[in-house]
Symmetry: D2
Subunit: 265 residues, 4 copies
């Protein structure tokens, strides 16, 4: 059978990324004693040099099949990137997994264990002859209480669910637990799945005592990320689902001077 | 060219609904002085009797083309249903439009005009020899403040955006404005797009003075709907995006005894 | 601390369903040798009788915490329903899990194993003094090739991804594998994640030999479901993402005479 | 009342973008004779310099209220950007509108007029002392037919809906119609809402005669964009919803050397 993908292409255009996406794979996350099986949505791609017409998509799926049920780690990422580079004959490869990650937390007063889940995405990229770069995208739901509303009102203050997100570029492979705990601590008003009445009293009062604008949260997280030597570049974003409005507010900081000037394209 | 859709079918199975969906159509909503052009997502279907293999999908689109830019009204609904019944040769037809509807509201203290938008869906159905039934689905974003959190805390109370929705079955063609205003009034803590500082103080304090569980809102709206003679059957639902949790709470009441027992299939 | 939820309510309105939703729980699905850990999105609710103001939401989460990491089965469903009825003092309970389920399939020619994933939802309901009802909702992606396009064209025929879905009400607790295989077999053009070139040739030609309208698929699945004695009521739906249009086509059949007349509210 | 937003901030962190998003605004698009009212989802933001604690979000909404019902144009964009810079006291402003745009097309054989809709996003940015930059993001649904499947199969070839998207950075304010027509022409197999049988025959055969990989489409669009002097930087992407798989394939090219090296953060 003719291999039409391998025919030569005369247009002379290199393709930055070509591959498959929205492929679901069952995989394991293991951090310390916390070992969990999750379903990740995967993307895999290569750089296609300018003389080939198309890539062989089924090879990505075969590589993905070999990952099924394995532990997602720096080792697996690097191994998969190398396999892609070799099997698909490219100079550059990318692998990305999006998933929901669970962490057990202890409620503040009743001291019960409860689960919280976080949307995460880990991408790794390898260019032949270089070390891999890793990218960690984490979303942490928190609560925000409006400093202005508190200041001007006789009682109460509007508060709401908000979402803190960071994207980090690093040579280092981070622990998700550490990143999540850091973001929750910095944003101050973290969430829990179970709250007994004495916990609810505690978090309600703590929130009232710690009003924060989206600007405050973005700045605090910026300061933390900036001080972390393993973080090469990063974006921080906070989005608040305002309880008194039907639109949302946001604040974002991009710590990458070159990127900042070009971020729109 | 052969008309393969019109060939006869021997399986003897009547199809309840067959047609097209996710078709976007520009259309006009006109209520009193409020005339607005919106983009609706449309569904159109018929009942296909058991002897025909398939329907002629392109006829729905031709009917839709004739609706473009017209005013969405009881008249247009009935006219379109009759056209479908005739052009597609069926005993039953359905038309449905989903869209975002805007209403101008006045802020509570500064008295500024501001826009709010609401997700709405209007479906109409016609069975030959009967009058049409109309179904109105409306989503109204509101704020809820937790009565328990307020009661047990020294200060503050967790509050959040919530969503009240109703689905109403009626022979009557309702005004959207009236339904929306009724739902906002009943849920007590309505939202605004603009709130100057004196408005923010007002809504913050009002919310603190009017704590409501999702159960309270569902019951209040039930009582209103039940007392409205033009409403034949209805479902009311309230969903609250809890600020202190990462999951949501809900309450729903179905006022249709036959449906209630069968609502899961 | 005051238990404000337990205060009495004078409105005299019973709430059909009140509880929590969009709660993610890690859980295990086990069918034969196929044991997989997945992340389910859960809903849990009760009927709230007319004299109580509100339910105790945190009890649902405590029940959910006890389910974490267990095998999703008829036993777990029934046990959870009974626990809810008891702990929350209600006459009626509902539990629902939505998740992605994986099945290993063998490619048609190269005989390679490959994974496919399917969106599933299982709900169970218990009314005191009755046996539980189970509801299975399954979505199976398939391909459809248009009989009309094939008939009238010199070569080729438009084809596309489509989605077959069924919702089944039963006293029986079904195996997901069996339902999925049945739907794939009935819709004829099933999907695979890996297809080597000889497989691709096979599925391309098979699809061309088996053109089906959405109406055909809905009818074939109806006939299967109707003949299955364990299925009490059901809805079947087929939706096709037409490759030559930007809208979709659908066909649905509801096998529940009472429901059919009331399905819109 | 105290203006807590205007209090000074000691953290010394500049915020790249802060503002409101997911605000819906009714607005008009006018190109030649094609004048249409649409509902846009808007984002508005500023750069917040390092000495201010927070911005005044309600001012964005007041500016948005003044835009309601006006024609979206270069003039409106520039005027709005200048208003934001002035009213919110910043050196940099951004405005973004996402919406669905309709175009009338003529079916290929029966020559009927029919509507097609396209997702579009236009952002403009202004830095004090500079001219505005405009960014156009357009999504065009097309059909792709697999060259490999056609080559190796006796008859037929798998085809499916795909989505071509471009993001363009320019000093020029483009006409949407021109961009859309260009993308449809380049991807070869464009979609229509109405297709009578003779049209369906035509598009089926044309698609069979014009097989294209996602790589082919990305390259062809790259060549067009590269040759257009008004386009400063751009990204092109093609994503295909494979009819024989449950995952998707994609190809993307980024024409911005600085961005390419930093695109992940």
């Amino acid at each position: 059978m003719k291999d039409i993908q391998s025919t030569s292409d005369r247009r002379g255009v290199e393709i930055d990324e070509v591959g498959i996406e929205n492929l679901r794979i069952p995989i394991i996350i293991s951090e310390g004693k916390n070992k969990q099986s999750i379903v990740a949505e995967a993307k895999m791609g290569i750089n296609l040099f300018n003389r080939s017409r198309a890539t062989h998509m089924s090879r990505f799926i075969e590589i993905a099949e070999a990952i099924k049920g394995r532990i997602l780690s720096e080792k697996l990422m690097t191994e998969t990137l190398k396999k892609i580079v070799t099997k698909l004959g490219s100079k550059h490869a990318i692998v990305e997994f999006s998933f929901v990650y669970f962490m057990t937390k202890i409620t503040p007063v009743s001291k019960k264990g409860c689960s919280m889940d976080y949307r995460c995405k880990i991408s790794s990229e390898l260019t032949k002859g270089d070390e891999p770069w890793h990218y960690f995208y984490i979303e942490v739901p928190v609560a925000t209480l409006c400093p202005c509303s508190k200041e001007i009102s006789k009682y109460g203050a509007h508060n709401q669910r908000a979402r803190v997100s960071v994207k980090i570029k690093s040579r280092e492979y981070f622990k998700l637990d550490q990143l999540i705990r850091q973001l929750e601590k910095t944003a101050k008003n973290e969430l829990f799945s179970v709250l007994k009445r004495k916990d609810e009293k505690y978090v309600t009062e703590k929130m009232y005592e710690n009003p924060m604008f989206v600007e405050d949260i973005a700045r605090e997280i910026y300061l933390w990320a900036k001080s972390n030597k393993n973080i090469s570049d990063f974006i921080v974003r906070c989005k608040s689902y305002e309880s008194i409005h039907n639109h949302n507010t946001y604040a974002s900081i991009v710590d990458n001077k070159i990127y900042a000037h070009n971020k729109k394209i």
